[in-house]
């Protein structure tokens, strides 16, 4: 019975195995990035960027159909352009970076949906907006795995300057020039992982497997290494349970995965050992020293 529900789908169907491999790769790459987004108070920036990559992917789609490389490449270009343009506008004018990013991503999203509907059908549009992890081919899986690998390698390289830039930016500036390149590399990683999530979860939910696991992790660990471990684990578990849920109930896979992550998030808010609500209500008696 439990075997039938939890394991059999993955043994019987290749597309389920493929999807599982996909979500695990997404979790490995995306969740640590999500933790840094959260710690740098950039969670919503990640969300905005997810919409910003749409027109690029759509242009790729326009020229070559549901071709993976074209869509990935287009998405990367669009993501970087929006990030850089928003940064530029906020630097040369009075407008703040969040406001200018919001403006650019809205334009981007509208443009993207327009481009897709010019050529494609409603099904294509649904695919772009919500992704379809159950329909991944080998190529897509390889690209996702490749992107996750690149992410982990680059993150290892820029880890120290990135952490110090979060805690004490002035100190980093006085000891090293690595701050700005590390920040740019980090933005690049955000875009790469959004494109990754885009294939599986679509433009609207791509950021979900980055931000929700990070939020979950905050409630269970005070330490950044621990946070990243927990984030990866909870992202992978959400992916797995979401696939099972989707298989058993016909809920689309993307929303199913995010809903499981959301459920874990709610549990964490309530019962998390670090500032969870229940913990705050019943903190135990205070200590002697």
């Amino acid at each position: 019975m439990i075997y039938d529900a939890l394991i059999a789908p993955f043994i019987d169907f290749e597309f389920m195995r493929r999807a599982l491999a996909g979500v695990i790769a997404l979790a490995l790459g995306g969740a640590p990035i999500g933790v840094f987004l959260m710690l740098r108070r950039m969670s919503l920036v990640g969300d905005a960027m997810a919409h910003a990559i749409l027109p690029g992917a759509a242009v790729g789609f326009l020229f070559s159909g549901l071709n993976l490389f074209a869509m990935t490449f287009g998405g990367l270009i669009a993501g970087f352009s929006v990030a850089l343009l928003a940064g530029l506008v906020s630097r040369v004018t009075e407008i703040k970076e969040d406001a200018s990013l919001a403006a650019f991503y809205l334009v981007s999203l509208a443009l993207g949906v327009t481009i897709v509907s010019m050529r494609g059908t409603n099904i294509d549009l649904l695919h772009v907006l919500f992704g379809n992890i159950l329909a991944m081919d080998d190529q897509t899986l390889l690209v996702i795995a490749f992107n996750a690998t690149i992410t982990l390698v680059i993150l290892a390289v820029i880890y120290r300057p990135l952490v110090i830039e979060c805690v004490d930016p002035v100190f980093l500036r006085t000891v090293s020039r690595a701050g700005a390149p590390a920040h740019l590399a980090f933005l690049a990683l955000v875009v790469i992982n959004l494109v990754n999530g885009f294939h599986a979860l679509g433009t609207l939910l791509a950021v979900g497997l980055m931000v929700l696991p990070a939020g979950i992790a905050r409630f269970w660990s005070r330490d950044i290494t621990g946070m990243m471990m927990i984030a990866v684990a909870s992202a992978a578990i959400s992916g797995y349970l979401g696939l099972v849920l989707s298989f058993q109930t016909k809920v689309p896979s993307g929303p199913a995965i995010i809903l499981v992550a959301a459920a874990l998030y709610v549990v964490s808010v309530l019962f998390g050992t670090v500032s969870g609500l229940v913990r705050q209500l019943f903190p135990g008696r205070h200590l002697e020293a």
Binding site: I164, C166, S176
Partner: protein
């Protein structure tokens, strides 16, 4: 006595408004120099210029063979994100940047150095606490531990004893004296004149320009302090371009 830092007609400021105006002078290697002056006198601005975060509007700050990145700088600690989940051990460990760089691991030797630095500032046993749990005084002790690890020839401390109790500032001033004994050059911006008189042989009284600079007892006179207070005014939005540069004849 060789000059460690050399100010040649330095003007530092923001949006063309000078905060430090036409400063000239030298700081000898191994000096222990207090920089005093009212709020807005340009103390922090001068430090930002020395460590290279702020480019001079005019003039130069000569560092000799020293690179700006070899100066340990302790700013007024407003920019640190204290909610970031990093342990005291790891935070202090960043002081070893020059030896570890981007990747170098923190090995056994580094671990000992960090433990020693924490012991020197009286924070034994705090290794695994996150920085958000520290009190103001403990935070300042931790920042001193990081400066200690930076092992820098020049140390710049911006109002290091603000909002710090007597016990902590006495402990930390002990470290400053220790650095002086090691022939390091130490600059500190301070407001407590008694502390300056008791511990710092030299003083620069700053109010945009140098009001007085030399032996502490001769600098900190009532007349000088009064003058410093008078010289320090708010930025004037309608100010004209500084005449001193224009009047100076161009080199033929």
């Amino acid at each position: 006595m060789t000059a460690q830092l050399k100010f040649s007609n330095v003007t530092l400021g923001y949006d063309r408004h000078p905060a430090v105006h036409h400063l000239n002078g030298e700081i000898a290697a191994g000096s222990l120099l207090a920089i005093v002056g009212p709020n807005g006198a340009g103390k922090s601005t001068l430090f930002r210029g020395i460590v290279g975060i702020l480019k001079p509007l005019a003039g130069t700050i000569g560092l000799g063979d020293l690179k700006p990145r070899e100066i340990a700088y302790l700013p007024q600690s407003v920019d640190i994100d204290r909610t970031f989940p990093i342990s005291v051990f790891d935070f202090v460990g960043t002081g070893l940047w020059r030896s570890t760089g981007l990747f170098g691991g923190l090995g056994k030797k580094a671990g000992r150095q960090i433990a020693d630095a924490l012991a020197a500032v009286g924070l034994n046993g705090f290794e695994n606490r996150t920085i958000g749990t520290l009190s103001g005084g403990q935070m300042q002790r931790m920042l001193f531990a990081r400066v200690l690890l930076q092992d820098a020839r020049v140390i710049v401390l911006d109002e290091p004893f603000n909002a710090i109790d007597a016990k902590t500032s006495a402990d930390l001033i002990g470290l400053v004296r220790h650095w002086h004994a090691e022939r390091r050059t130490v600059l500190a911006a301070l407001h407590d004149m008694d502390l300056v008189r008791a511990n710092f042989p030299e003083t620069l009284l700053l109010a945009r320009g140098a009001v007085a600079w030399g032996a502490t007892s001769q600098v900190l006179t009532a007349d000088n302090l009064l003058e410093a207070r008078r010289m320090c005014e708010a930025f004037d939005d309608g100010a004209h371009a500084c005449a001193i540069d224009a009047a100076r004849p161009r080199a033929a």
